[in-house]
Symmetry: C2
Subunit: 428 residues, 2 copies
């Protein structure tokens, strides 16, 4: 991608020169890390294409939708209720926040000892190199963590930003009622933004649209859980990442096509790694594109990542929105129930996540868990104490990695991962 | 204090030997930092006595109350509604969390890159050297920040802990209604704990009790705002700290006695520092006993701390609980309204705090603001960006200090404070 999109990027107010640097870096990284993987399924061709056009063709699609009078809503979090966006003919897209590239720009304003994801997204808006930001008519933030919550205040100076308050005691009726009201208010906001009324019929259709996406991702995840996995963890992660940017109908179809191919592999016992390669769960903070650092280190060390217990992973697709009635309120309540089951570490207490990790570890037949914390993320960092205990009770070793988007600690992480894999091999 | 309290401490399950180390350290620190201040008001004698007996006589009082069938509720935050505790004949006390002493114990379990206050309190419960923890029948936590929220989960394994969810969008009606319901639930919890019904009459009396304490602290704060201040910032802070531990009736009387003395000083133009000493506001994170580090550095450098924009400071006492009716619901709503006005950085957006800082700076006639962030406190750290801008618009310099409870950076802070005071002197 390149020349032909420049007028579009200029129209979006982007910093063309800086954006070129970003694209060059991303292209080189993808070529070095993702493409050389062996025995990739044919179906990955589509997703490689999506990544190659992630700032080009996909943005062009969004701009065409906007030209037709529809809106684009940017978001960062699986608590942003995309069903409500699609019910108003809007598109919800994940915003940039996975690259070190924009962190120095953010650090000119923000404290350094913040989560890299937060610094990254704020920097991407500041330096105008994220076309998703530039094409968003509204950004939806949430109160899932202190860092995001406070940086959204600064972000709102640069782009219209709406904040949804997520209650932190997930199983209390009071909290669910509050979340219902927050969803009602967000529905009104989306209706105002788009000029479109969210009817029960349209909301039901949007729920089905996103449920289908979640079903396809779940199907993929269940195939990855087979031993041997028919697809690499890095490719699995890549698809989970693309889920937040691609058109949902097309994406769902392509994931299902890939899954057909993977089912054939499973039937033939065909895997991407040797049958005795250690199997790992990565659990913790989300990994936005192009955060492939940990997965590539794990794979290079000879192991398979079989599952991501993550917002870019199982937390997004494990549960569906399952309405118990036909009215708008029934549908909103179904959204409340689904979102309340997402075991984000912002919840207290969060026993659901501990149990989820224990169950996923069994289902995916992993020999150990790498607990992934983005630097300065207190929620996941502290919750790691309980996770480690629970895994110990299950006789599963855990390695805790706290890192940012830089490569300065890659060699150290590699050494630690290799030592961890030795422990797992010793138990096999 | 010492020998005579050992049986009581043993009964409370404390680690006597370790606690002795703590007391020795505290005593030496107090003697070195607080007592040598010049020209202290006579009324400080009472507060020096309180500190000398803070783990002795005060705990004995609490134990006597417990022996008489009343309860003690420990808390960390000005969102813990003490009015409800006193309305049920319980006493609310601040728990230990201001000393480096317990941090190494906490770090055996918790991540190191957490706020020192959080590590400190968790360590104090783990190592059994805080008699307030040991004498608490219940601990009330809240969801004001990620770190506390998640560490309360671990704390609840060691002591019964109840979590109040504080809504983060303070001015929304939905949020206030939710907070009202949280207060109702806490009221029921306190009634269950104490066996005492919280009647309108008792709640009204408790509101008046705590309002009187807040009035006295506000009176002290207004006297400190005079130029020159009739009392040192360190002594002012000390009283604000003791507010969370002492008996409220006695404390209020003693603060008012001291204020009578200070009023006479003000009339005589008598200050604790030279009239041209730079006047500073400290704004940011709370400072629990014995966190006197920053104030003592500022004073040693020749400046006066005229006001603390802090939870241990103005946020606690600026507003009163002002009921508009006589029923329990009216009284609870008055608590909702008062607590919603506390400009904690957990709120988003939090323009009220920015305005408060600007107004306090004028009222206290300060030449600059030292913005104090406990390490890894994202809420206050990020909000500092907006505070600095607002102060710049007011032509007030700001110095940002991010630190922990250790002394390793004291020399560096001293150098930075001295340079900052030169800037202020240059503008005087």
């Amino acid at each position: 991608m390149a020349e032909k999109y420049i007028p579009m990027w200029e129209k979006l107010g982007m910093d063309i020169q800086k954006h070129n640097q970003l694209l060059n870096g991303l292209g080189q990284y993808y070529t070095a890390v993702v493409l050389p993987q062996k025995n990739r399924p044919k179906g990955m061709g589509y997703f490689d294409f999506v990544v190659s056009e992630v700032h080009g063709l996909r943005i062009q699609e969004l701009q065409e939708q906007r030209a037709a009078g529809n809106k684009v809503i940017g978001a960062f979090c699986v608590y942003a209720p995309e069903e409500l966006a699609y019910a108003a003919n809007a598109t919800m897209v994940g915003l940039c926040g996975g690259a070190d590239f924009s962190v120095p720009d953010a650090e000119a304003v923000l404290p350094r000892n913040l989560c890299p994801l937060i610094k990254s997204f704020y920097g991407f808006k500041l330096n105008r190199t994220c076309p998703y930001f530039q094409a968003s008519d509204l950004v939806v933030g949430e109160t899932t963590c202190d860092g995001k919550k406070k940086v959204y205040e600064l972000l709102s100076e640069l782009v219209p930003t709406y904040i949804l308050e997520v209650p932190h005691k997930p199983d209390s009726q009071k909290g669910k009622e509050f979340w219902f009201k927050e969803l009602e208010a967000f529905k009104a906001e989306v209706e105002k933004l788009t000029g479109n009324k969210i009817t029960a019929e349209k909301l039901k259709a949007a729920i089905e649209l996103i449920n289908n996406k979640r079903r396809a991702l779940k199907r993929l995840s269940e195939l990855r859980a087979k031993s041997p996995s028919p697809i690499s963890g890095l490719d699995g992660l890549l698809i989970e990442q693309i889920a937040f940017n691609d058109d949902p109908i097309r994406f769902t179809a392509k994931v299902n096509e890939l899954c057909d191919e993977l089912e054939a592999r499973v039937q033939n016992g065909e895997g991407v790694a040797p049958a005795d390669a250690p199997r790992i769960m990565v659990s913790g903070c989300p990994m936005a594109i192009p955060n492939w650092k940990l997965h590539s280190i794990i794979q290079d060390a000879g192991a398979t990542v079989a599952v991501e217990e993550s917002c870019v992973g199982t937390r997004y697709f494990t549960d569906l929105v399952e309405p118990k009635g036909e009215g708008v309120d029934d549908l909103l309540w179904a959204i409340v129930e689904k979102y309340s089951k997402i075991p984000c570490a912002c919840f207290t207490p969060n026993e659901r996540r501990i149990k989820t990790i224990q169950e996923l570890a069994k289902q995916a037949n992993v020999g150990g868990v790498i607990y992934y914390t983005l630097q300065n993320c207190h929620d996941y960092n502290v919750e790691g104490v309980k996770v480690e205990r629970a895994l110990k009770a299950q006789d599963l070793p855990m390695l805790k990695i706290e890192t940012d988007y830089g490569t300065g600690d890659s060699a150290q992480i590699k050494t630690r991962v290799e030592a961890f894999l030795e422990i797992i091999r010793g138990k096999q």
